[in-house]
Symmetry: C2
DNA sequence: AAGACTAATGAGTAATGCTCAGCATGTCTA
DNA sequence: TAGACATGCTGAGCATTACTCATTAGTCTT
């Protein structure tokens, strides 16, 4: 049976896993609410229902605690990433899916993403952290899709892959910047369309020369497809701009 | 005449401007070398040849000191920006110049840029700071050049301007990320070429030259077909996996 | 030279990340 | 059921750090 300690706190002995889970839950909540620097270990301890010293039994430093919290978030995000991508066909669609997914994660948990982008990533040791490696896995999928596009002959053969990757993720980051800070809105759907279209046209192969009459047919075909889309699916806005 | 104070420090009275300059010089050096969090006010004071209390006569907080240091840097950078741009003709060239200039600034003073990007910008009050406004001025020049391209008929009429801006600066930021941390290299020239080309083709109007028009139409047809594929094959944008 | 103004000092404070010796609690043994 | 053991947990305490303020002392005016 448990009794109250001097201060009135109930001293409970939990298993390591339970206590760790409690602390991480508390840490995540307060980190997300106030940011890393403005969160004190005392606050986390209180929220977790323990005393400061207890944190340090399970996490060597406050920074380590943040890393563990972020890791848990990433693991969760990635769980069914690959599987979902399997179901998407075509370079444009696959590209669009990856970009949309990325934006959706940000849209779904801006506080957590702010923590990652603004607080964890700038640290000197970031590139040695497991979170960095998780992130690499993530961006490599995007590069793979670009390479598929090249292999299919849709994209130019010589593409600056790193630049394209940086363009996609850098754009996503800047675009969602205000939103991350609770100072604006953005639409993952619209942004994903715009980014995908820009990147796609930017990479597209040029120089095939069908006859001029083909162009007209293409437009009509495209219109037909759009009508089809309108019939069979919830509409997605199309940015590429009709001629 | 000056005499030595107890601790052996020479007590000198400088004018406000001289003292402020000394402190900012010292602060900039140590902030750049160690980063904001790892720099203590005591270190700055020592480097500036004063005592901690003196810092607080001129700068209300350590954070304010950083902001002033960054402001000074920005002012210096912008000094002949506009003038240089005047001398560059043509949309592609102007775009390339702005991107190249941006990358060159990063290349020229990575420590300072790291401070801005990784330490100052993530702060909650950043958007209220003068540095934010300086930065706006900076990115607006780029948008103006894009608009010029539209006006000249080189670019499509409907362009998601914000996205393009985010793409340029986001890409530059991600691309120079490792370099900022002293963990890699990059070439402002090569990167500027690659980014400019991608953006330029991504925005280019279709249909000016017949052959290009057809090529782009084919690309659009491919996109349309792929969208169809996406609709009939396992669905995109659904969590539940295959339909 | 005296007085006034204020730059500069340095001791001090509150807050915070982190440590550690020891206590108390759940479990195991007899 | 009672005692012993292993260890989860505590809370006082330490070192560091951003920041304050009463006091000291250059320098300028008259």
């Amino acid at each position: 049976m448990t009794v109250r300690a001097r201060g009135g706190r109930r001293r409970e002995r939990l298993s390591r896993d339970e206590r760790v889970a409690d602390i991480m839950r508390a840490a995540r909540a307060i980190f997300c609410e106030k940011g890393y620097a403005e969160t004190s270990t005392a606050q986390i301890a209180e929220e977790a229902g323990v005393v400061e010293g207890t944190l340090y039994r399970y996490f060597p430093t406050k920074r380590d605690l943040l890393i563990k919290v972020v890791e848990a978030f990433y693991e969760n995000i990635f769980a069914d990433y690959e599987r979902q991508l399997q179901g998407v066909r075509g370079t444009w669609n696959r590209l669009r899916f990856l970009i949309w997914k990325h934006l959706s994660v940000i849209h779904g948990d801006p506080a957590m993403c702010r923590l990652i982008v603004h607080e964890l990533r700038p640290w000197p040791q970031y590139r040695q952290s497991s979170v960095f490696r998780l992130n690499q896995r993530y961006t490599r999928r995007t590069l793979a899709v670009i390479k598929e596009g090249v292999a299919r002959g849709e994209f130019q053969a010589k593409i600056p892959l790193q630049i394209v990757r940086d363009m996609i993720f850098g754009c996503a980051e800047h675009h969602t910047w205000a939103y991350l800070r609770g100072e604006g809105q953005f639409s993952p759907d619209e942004a994903a369309d715009a980014i995908t279209n820009l990147i796609y046209q930017g990479l597209a192969r040029v120089g095939r020369r069908p006859e001029a009459s083909v162009a007209v047919s293409v437009v009509r075909l495209e219109q037909a497809v759009q009508r089809l889309e309108g019939l069979s699916a919830p509409r997605r806005r199309q940015r590429s701009g009709a001629a």
